[in-house]
């Protein structure tokens, strides 16, 4: 799941040597080609989709064509159907990421530091992760109500595991020689954590965050299906079950997909800033 352009040559180097410049223009050309490929792929998908609808003579309530979906999307946006649902889902995702992410960071660090904690906690963590969230969601909604709390919890649960594991791997992988360097410079344990271990573990942690952010979208939708009155998951149910508005269903799916891409891209941008070129 390493998406587009994980580790680009983003940084401004020493700007000294000609090879550096050549590398940068080559990278720019490669990026241009990648954008082109993405656009071409999208177009091919849309064309195939339209062909399937026209040639198969599918009615709109079974499979609406891309143009119809796009029209419905624009219309729903203009009328203001999508926005409140999008806002609700986005809130759940952000809070769930925050809760699950922070818990994942803390537990991942604990697992890396303490062998005992690893032995005691690992079976439970893995067991919890293996339990289908789909089965758990209705229960949690029952216990916590259909408000924000159950959504954030479900979202957080699904995000927790990849971030905890990535954090553990990141901290375990810190080069002990760098820690020895820190000790030789009389760094305090806190300074070693902040100036050596966290920066060294950051690339792995962001790997977990990339997985986590996409799962968070799924978690929010699943949580909404278990009971909610707003959110893109609710809108899917409405469009399918009550309104028989298949184009709106597809427009909602499109919104969810775009939301996932936007969140993922945000993580990548933050990662570039924090991890940078190494």
């Amino acid at each position: 799941m390493t998406g587009p352009g994980g580790t680009g040559t983003g940084g401004t180097g020493p700007g000294a040597s000609a090879p550096g410049v050549r590398v940068r223009t080559a990278a720019a050309r490669q990026r241009g080609q990648a954008v082109l490929a993405v656009v071409a792929g999208g177009l091919a998908f849309v064309v195939a989709w339209q062909a399937l609808v026209v040639l198969g003579d599918q009615p709109s309530y079974i499979l609406p064509g891309p143009v119809e979906v796009l029209e419905r999307w624009v219309d729903a946006w203009r009328v203001g159907i999508l926005q409140p649902h999008l806002a609700a889902t986005l809130t759940e995702i952000v809070l769930g990421l925050l809760a699950g992410g922070l818990a994942g960071l803390a537990v991942g660090y604990l697992l890396a530091r303490s062998r005992l904690a690893g032995l005691v906690l690992s079976p439970y963590i893995v067991a919890a992760q293996s339990t289908p969230i789909l089965a758990l969601a209705p229960l949690l909604a029952l216990w916590l109500g259909t408000g924000l709390a159950s959504k954030v919890l479900i979202c957080g649960l699904i995000v927790f595991f990849p971030i905890a594991v990535a954090t553990m791997v990141g901290f375990r992988g810190v080069d002990p020689r760098l820690v020895e360097l820190g000790r030789s410079l009389r760094a305090t344990p806190r300074q070693i954590l902040v100036t050596l271990e966290i920066p060294a573990a950051l690339p792995q942690i962001f790997g977990g965050l990339r997985v986590g952010v996409t799962l968070a979208v799924v978690g929010a939708i699943v949580a909404e299906w278990a009971g909610a009155d707003q959110g893109l998951g609710v809108l899917i149910n409405l469009a399918r079950g009550s309104l028989f508005d298949t184009p709106l269903l597809f427009a909602t799916l499109l919104t969810i997909a775009l939301l996932g891409v936007a969140l993922y891209a945000t993580v990548v941008v933050v990662e570039r800033r924090l991890v940078g070129a190494r």
Partner: protein, 323 residues
């Protein structure tokens, strides 16, 4: 990769001409270590150190080491793998505590890493996410030196090692030799009076290595430090040091102490001086080896491999566990 930085220290050193400590004007504004006075910089008495070895029992790495290094002296330590060279250096640095015996640096007992000691590791050990400048400034940052001050000082140090133009470069953008220069500049950041070097140039090719050895001597002339250095190269030890200590294989004991036949200052020509060859032959005879030990051997300076990295005592450093 070529190393496009010989202009700095080499030419400056040449301009300084003969005579240690000549031309203070070229000192690049780097504060020199504590006041030079005759005396002892490093003193070890009866130092022993052993390591726990996994299957059972322990391994004696150093046994009853007595060592006294005068201020401004350069002492080289040679010995086969597993003779405890790196362990000895880490004991002096306060990174490893001896099992018995006493360690004093600048008249103070060593209880942990000391700010008057700079350590240059076998690998540069730069933080890959920091620029060269920020790597050199790192010890100052840990010590709580204000940002502007530490950047100024780091800039001076980079100039001192001939990397003035590479302040913003990342380690990945530097050649191996340049990275080690950054490592040396970082070791000098706190103005140490004692510099410990653990096979600092072992990863460099022979030509670069010769040049680095000369530059190290220039640096030593300008910074008034005491140097204890571990090396695998016997000629290098003779060329750099005032005294060469020969450690016996496991447990490490000081087998012999060979004074270098060379005077100061030393030049490129001294690399091939007949006295060097004679002294090197003498050391080889003591070590019982017909030729140079193979270079590029495994980094026996590795500290703990444990997950915590906090306790190097268990997984020994020098007691070379056969790979």
């Amino acid at each position: 990769m070529t190393d496009p930085a010989p202009a700095g220290p080499t030419s400056a050193g040449a301009a300084a001409g003969p005579g240690p400590g000549a031309s203070p004007g070229l000192d690049a504004g780097v504060a020199v270590g504590p006041v030079r006075e005759p005396g002892v910089a490093v003193q070890l008495a009866g130092v022993s150190r052993s390591f726990v070895v996994r299957p059972s029992g322990s391994l004696l790495a150093l046994e009853a080491i007595d060592l006294s290094v005068r201020r401004r002296e350069i002492v080289a330590i040679v010995g086969p793998n597993g003779s405890g060279k790196s362990t000895l250096l880490r004991v002096i640095a306060g990174l490893l505590a001896p099992d018995s015996g006493s360690v004093m640096v600048e008249g103070r007992p060593v209880t942990g890493p000391d700010p008057s000691v700079g350590f240059v590791f076998q690998e540069p050990r730069l933080l890959p996410w920091r620029s060269a400048l920020d790597n050199v400034a790192y010890p100052l940052e840990l010590a709580g030196v204000e940002r502007a001050t530490r950047r100024d000082r780091a800039r001076d140090l980079l100039r001192l090692v001939g990397l003035a133009g590479f302040a913003e470069a990342r380690p990945s953008e530097l050649s191996g030799g340049m990275r080690q220069r950054v490592g040396i500049a970082r070791a000098l950041a706190l103005g140490p009076s004692v510099l410990l070097l653990d096979e600092p140039f072992s990863a460099l090719d022979a030509l670069t290595r010769d040049r680095f050895n000369l530059e190290l001597l220039r640096l030593w002339e300008r910074t008034a430090t005491t140097i204890v250095l571990v090396t695998h190269s016997i000629p290098e030890a003779v060329f750099l040091a005032d005294r060469v200590l020969v450690l016996s294989p496991q447990p490490g004991r000081i087998e012999a102490e060979i004074p270098s036949p060379l005077g100061r200052p030393r030049t490129v020509a001294d690399l091939d001086a007949p006295g060097v060859a004679v002294a090197a032959a003498g050391i080889r005879a003591i070590l019982g080896t017909p030729g140079d030990p193979p270079s590029g051997d495994p980094p026996d300076g590795d500290p703990a491999r444990g997950p915590s990295g906090a306790a190097p005592s268990g997984a020994g450093s020098d007691p070379a566990v056969p790979a």
